[in-house]
């Protein structure tokens, strides 16, 4: 299956830019440590936010404020299962098979969940106290998966 999002951009509210810079391993600058920057790329953090929102049962949100381009849709090519997962998410959300022919709508749905999941993700990261970001996030995920049968 080709990547239907290849021509689109992943846009994130400007207010999250700083957080993305904190938790994503940058290629430039100081050496990244996975325990403090658990996400390899912006797309990984964005996708994690989607997963978190869905798992927590949060409602997709919309945003009309200032955004910036956090990633290009073509990045999703590097993990071919990801465009498929986003398509299935849109299908599961709308229960309308024709959605798979509308990449823009599918990306809006995904982004809506990302917008719902990002504050939750930042709350988790903010509560970690002395723990590392990687460990606290991993424990949170483990707790979620144990408590709510998928």
């Amino acid at each position: 299956m080709s990547n239907p999002f290849a021509g689109s951009d992943i846009m994130i509210p400007e207010e999250y830019r700083e957080h993305f810079d904190s938790y994503v391993q940058k290629k430039e600058g100081k050496a990244a440590q996975p325990i403090h920057q658990p996400f390899a790329r912006n797309i990984d953090m964005w996708f994690f936010a989607i997963c978190l929102a869905v798992k927590k049962g949060l409602k997709a949100e919309s945003y009309s404020g200032k955004t910036y381009k956090a990633a290009e849709g073509v990045v999703l090519n590097s993990d071919p299962w990801r465009p498929t997962a986003l398509t299935l998410l849109a299908l599961g959300e709308t229960e309308d098979i024709s959605i798979i022919d509308r990449p823009g709508d599918m990306l809006r749905i995904a982004n809506g969940y990302a917008l719902a999941g990002l504050p939750a993700l930042l709350t988790v990261l903010g509560e970690r106290e002395g723990d590392t970001a990687l460990d606290y996030l991993s424990e949170t995920v483990e707790e979620l998966l144990r408590s709510k049968a998928a």
Binding site: D79, A85, L88, G92, S138, V141
Partner: protein, 695 residues
Amino acid sequence: MRLIRARFDGFRLLHNLEIEFSTDPLRNITVIRAANESGKTTMLTALQWCLFGEEALPSGYTPQSMDLKRGEISDTVGDIIYEVTSKGVTKRFRLIRSLTEQVGAGVQRKSTTQLYELLPTGNHEIPNVEAHLAVHMPSDLREVFFTDGDQALSFIQGARTDQQRRVKKAIEQLMGLPMLEEAVEHVKKVERDVRAKAEKSSNNAELKQTQQELEMLETAIPELESRLKQAADEISNLTDLYGKADRELQEALKRGNRDEIAAELKRIQRERQASETRIRSAENRQAGLLSNNVFAREMLGSKLRIAGNLLDDLRKKGAIPNKTIPILEDRLQHADCICGESLDKTDPDGARRHRHIEELIEESRGADALKAKVSDLYFEGRDLFAAGQTKWIADYTAAFSDRNTEQHTYDELGRAEANLEAKLDKVKDDNVQQAREMRDTYRARLDEKIPSAARLEQQIRQHRERRVDLERKFQTLSAREDKGRRFNCELTAARDIRGVVERALEIMKTREVHSVSTKMNEHFLRMIGAHPDNALIQRAEITSEFRIVVFGRNERVLDPSIDLNGASRRALTIAFVLALTEVSGVEAPNVIDTPLGMMSGFVKTEVVRVASEASSQLILFLTHDEINGCEAILDARAGKVMTITNPLHFPIVLKNDPGTTDARALPCDCDHRSVCQLCDRIASASDAAAMEEAA
């Protein structure tokens, strides 16, 4: 000899000072209690000076009073009353030694002595005092009967040959062995004289030559023996030094070779780096779990299942074609179907099946674009939405555990690295190398010395054999002469006497050393309370080479200077001194300065008890600390106790002003338990602790 009373005037700190000694055989201890720097050692020296003269003073020592100024006249008098029992008769004597000199005068003057026998009828002056004194108290015995705790340690401490020499000298002098040695030399001289007379009376050239050769051998043999003894001493010292250097090398090796530690440190650092890389990799693996498809599948499960159900429905309705085209196309390349039937076009049935497959392919290709997308989504998304076992938690647990294990390894390596760095800091650059070089140097010198000593031994043996031959020849030749016969008889007699004296000397040396050794062992084991069944120290012995050694369990030889604690070392040397004085049979006081240093508890009490039992008269100079803990034994065994105080210790040590600042020891009658206005001291930390303990 038993000391009755002593009085000193003008001897350093001692002025107008009189001491009474206990002569009660049941309470034979006299205690002179004094703090450090109060005159104990001075009194020990003064007693020796009075009895033995200037020879007993340390080199450069002057008895002049401390308070005298340069140019002033110093009068020093020692006055001792003692008694001597000989053949059941006890006689009492008074010895007065006096010395007058000018303070600061370069030349030391000799003291004068007067000796009186104290008779009921009056004092009878005895001429030739030194000769009488030598009989009453031989000066050879001075260092054994008058000693101090530190000095006695030299019997077991210091260079091995020095220890041996001191032990040997002490034993030989106490047993009167030098007299026998002198006798041997005397008889040898007589032999030589007789031979010379024989030679003179004879014209026999051969006899003359034999005699000359014998003379030469008589000179050469002692020379060679002396060289051999020197070589043996050097070998003994080198063996000691070699042993010490080897021990140091072993210690240095235990601490480690710097290069080896540095190499090990590098290896650990490399391993730690590799471990760090593995930790990063494990962290990456764990971080990867937060963005992989298993994570997405389990986190998005609810939505994915809805999508999956929709796709399943469509498939059931036929809206999703099977992905059969590649399989069907693949089959057409072969002669048979996957069901096993033939697809051979030459066969009618095969041709029919072939056509049917081609139709199926065409039909599949006819599906519209949406269907294709749905079809792709269905097949590619099945892994995401299909029901299956959850796996993320197991993956996470495994990744976390691997990371922890690696972190543990990393931490362990870190600790090892820190240890090695600390070890490396402690090891000097050249420790091992230096120790090895020292040991090898001593080994090389030993390797050189040992054959040289062996050669000397052989030379001596050959000379002795030659001497025996020549003596026989001389005897034969001289027997031929009339005059020679007479001399030969004299010579035979001299030789026989020499043999007897030499044998007696040898027997005494062996037997007496054994007796001293046995006594010393008895005293020592009692003093340290060693039980033969379970003690760490089993016995002490004086070897035939005059070395004091101690045996531990399993007959392990211990070096007293290394393997014994301070208290046991002192106990051993006091046991040796007591054994010597006992075996010698000489009745004289044992005067010991600060014998109980470094001792406490049982050992301290037992040393006093054993010393009291082994001595005819025991005079102890003790500090307050030494007395502390053995008051009970002193209660029982001390017949006389006095205290001397240095007034200059006020106000730091003494409580009360003694009323003088003269540099002189002040006596009082206080015993080992009491204090008076003069000797009362400000409680020191150790005193306070002792009082607390006693309370």
